[in-house]
Amino acid sequence: MSHISVRDLEFAYGDGREALGGLSLHVEPGEVVGLLGRNGAGKTTLLHCLLGLLKPSAGEVEIFGLDPRAYPLEVKSQLGHVSEHDLLPPGRRVRELLAFHADVFPDWDGALCDELVGRFGLNTASRIRQLSKGQVRQVSLVCAVAHRPKLLLLDEPAGGLDPAARREVLQLAIELLVEGGTTVLFSSHHMHDVERLAQRVVMLHEGRVLLDDTLDDLREGCSLAVLPGDLAPRLEAMPRCLRVRPQGDVVHAAMAAPPSEAEQLLNGELSRTDVRCSSLNLEDFFVELVG
């Protein structure tokens, strides 16, 4: 059974603005999937539908085979969620929040909670408003993982944090993966973090899945050619050309083939001998596809 199963999901806001336009996605147990896309691509909306916070306009959402809106308790007891936009009550003390979560989740692991609080150096007597942004995120993380969920949904879990705090978030995620094979779906704009953590990458664009592939296949199976601008129409007609992006006098052509293969293909197709293709890292790839 898939941990996440989304079929033809559509969501439109009250003003008619379409946020998701027929999106399908399946995530199997143990997979670690990076959710990429520009601001407004639909990442947070998708995660909110998965959490049952938003009601889809059409299509199906299942978490562990259950509709999260029909079975909120069953789903949430096995799910952890952290968002950059989490709002914790500013007047509460850390220990009150932890005690609340320990009450709500039958599988709360007090030892894991204590260990994380110790490692982060959190003072449980502090009120939320007294903590730094990084510390508040750490509290969110402890609340999200101490019941050892089967599935973690992370919306920019390290967003807005300094590099050291970001690394701590990443380290915790790696530890959970090492220990328990947790399924993770996380959105991030930090491509280096995605390269460290994800095995699979799903790129959203305008409410749809633009691309869904393993990270290594993307890294090794795609390349970029820089060519004279007048070739744009011919490139656009090529089946393995993913995107043509004009840049002044030249065009960037993102190709669904490794560099040497793409060179052969382009030289043959364009009757040239001088086409050179280079490999792309994830950040370049992101810019070439949706920039």
């Binding site: 670690v32 590099p163 690394r167 990443l170 380290q171 790696i174 530890e175 993966l177 090492v178 930090h190 491509m191 280096h192 973090d193 390269e195 460290r196 953590l197 994800a198 095995q199 990270l215 290594d216 890294r219 090794e220 490999s279 890292n281 994830l282 950040e283």
Partner: protein, 152 residues
Amino acid sequence: MPSATHIDIHVVPGDGVPIYRQIMAQISDGVACGRLSPGDRLPSQRELAQRLVVAPLTVKKAYDLLEREGVVESRHGSGTFVAQGAQGDKAQAEKHLAQAARQLVTQAQLSGLDDKALIALVQAAAAQLRQERASGDHSRGERPKTTETEES
């Protein structure tokens, strides 16, 4: 269980090659220049994943491929070791080397170095590696422990 041989590995996300290939290359390189010897135990997959802060599956992929290439062998229950007579896949290696050579030649030409000067540099590097390999047994274990370095 013997403790794992120390090996410096650090990965750079966003580099030209995926992380699993970086891990593979550094272990193969360690064998090639004698920092790792047949029988040496490598860090466990979970240990390396935590040290490098990369997904455990990435380390597993690197180890599995190295095993298929005959560079390492896993012994049930006791870990992963550098294989006896370890050497990489020759055809694959030649393919990668051809790419690297092309980059090298391009860089040399851009810097105005002729072929002869470039070949001299390659020979000097080979001589240095041979020397390091010869003294490998002495220096091993004394190498300073480097922590993984990278920040975007």
